[in-house]
């Protein structure tokens, strides 16, 4: 069981193609590139272990994203995670113009959200998932996604002293 050349080749091809995408989602969740890489490493290890299921899934990307989210949330629930302080904000990102400042503000605001809210905001606004898809990914009710999103956006707005944020659907309209 495990380790067949065909399976390994399929898995390697998929992860090679999707690693940067997974890393971006992980970075928004973790707020730190090193922690994001650790999260992606843990995620692809789980993905390999469950490749017999992932490889057969209708939506492999969705499966990988769910694995990433669950790994992130499980780590944040662990007692040691409460002690983690994000690493220095400027050590791994070049200090560019205003755009980078903007990104750093948003990164700090995102980091201030509790893990489930952060995950919900990232799923809804970055991964562009509907309320129903986000609920399936997080294994919770759509009402829960709505309330987590509302609270997350409220906190972001307060931290960034900004005007209301429209829903992803409103942007698409």
């Amino acid at each position: 069981m495990g380790g067949s050349p065909a399976r390994d080749a399929e898995f390697t091809e998929y992860v090679t193609a999707k690693a940067l995408w997974l890393r971006k989602v992980a970075y928004l969740l973790c707020g730190d590139w090193h922690a994001a890489d650790d999260l992606v490493q843990a995620t692809v290890t789980k993905l390999y272990t469950n490749w017999h299921r992932a490889g057969r899934a209708d939506n492999v990307d969705g499966y990988a994203r769910t694995t990433l989210l669950n790994t992130f949330l499980a780590e944040r629930r662990a007692p040691w995670a409460r002690l983690i302080v994000l690493r220095g904000t400027h050590d791994d990102v070049a200090d560019h113009e205003g755009d980078v400042d903007a990104a750093l503000d948003l990164r700090a605001a995102l980091a201030a959200l509790p893990p489930r809210q952060r995950a919900t905001v990232v799923l809804r606004y970055f991964c562009d998932l509907s309320v129903e898809e986000a609920a399936r990914t997080l294994g919770c009710s759509t009402g829960n996604v709505k309330s987590q999103t509302a609270r997350g956006i409220d906190t972001l707005r307060r931290l960034l002293r900004t005007r209301p944020v429209a829903s992803p659907e409103e942007y698409r309209a």
Binding site: G2, D8, H34, Q41, L106, P114, G143, T155
Partner: protein, 324 residues
Amino acid sequence: MTGDIPDLAAELKALAQAPAPPMTLDLARARATGRRRLRRRRTWTIGVGAAALAAGLAAMPLVRPAPEPASAVTLSAGPAPLIAHASFGWLPEPIAGVGYQAGPHGDQILARERGDSGARIILSLYPDDREPAPGRFADGAEGVAVPARVHGRPAYWLTHDASDPLNGGDIYLRWQTAGGRWAELHAYYLNVADPQEVLLRVAAGVTVGDHAVPLPLRIGGMPAGFRLQEVQLWRPPLRGTGAWELQVFLSANGLPVTVNVSPAGGSPRPPKSTCTSATGLDLCVQVDGPVPASLRAIGGPRGLLDRITLLGADERDWTTQVIG
């Protein structure tokens, strides 16, 4: 950045494009670790499979389809909008209150601690006395049942890993209640010394039975063209410092009209709302869009406010005869 996030989706995409150090993903290590886990899993499965087969042959169970979970609270078209089908009993110290949400966005009975990362315990019911199968988690992994007992009745922890009944803190406990129906607790952010003991005690205190949930207002007849869509009683509130907040979502000619009630000064006033205060409570009617014809017909938001009687902050004065 000036603090503006006019398009959060675009801002997040820009943030994810930020300059980054080289990626440190080690695919060979992922494959090697994954293979070791697969070998362990196979050994465990063979052992457990043999034991399960022996037990199954000794007492062949009656095979019935697995039941689907049902919500423990539903929206009613009668005078009492919220009908709960079960109730919490004992709850641990950090929990500040029990709320009910019913409608198209999900039905749940939710016990919460204050704060964004406060403990949450969600109560669900199964329709009958059939033991629910563990099923799969959202990530596709097979759920593993770790046996437990609640008041001597069958129960199990649902987890990804048999060695961790608490499932990394995203905890599921299913048990058979005194009347035979199965129920489920889903808890997370539960920061107590012994979560297993606490949740077994919470489960033991749950009672199954229908009851209307009292609410702090009476609406003197639903205006023509209005329909009840959703009711959310949050305890503690999502925002603010009050003890609770109530949102009644109505549809008037297909357009949304929301009635918000909260202890005076306890919750921020919703935008685009018309408000009044009485009996120590704030009452607001929020119309986020065009004013529906049926609302205009009764005098607009003010006309709806006039139809509502507030019953005060003392929950003993609340009523189940909310509409009519």
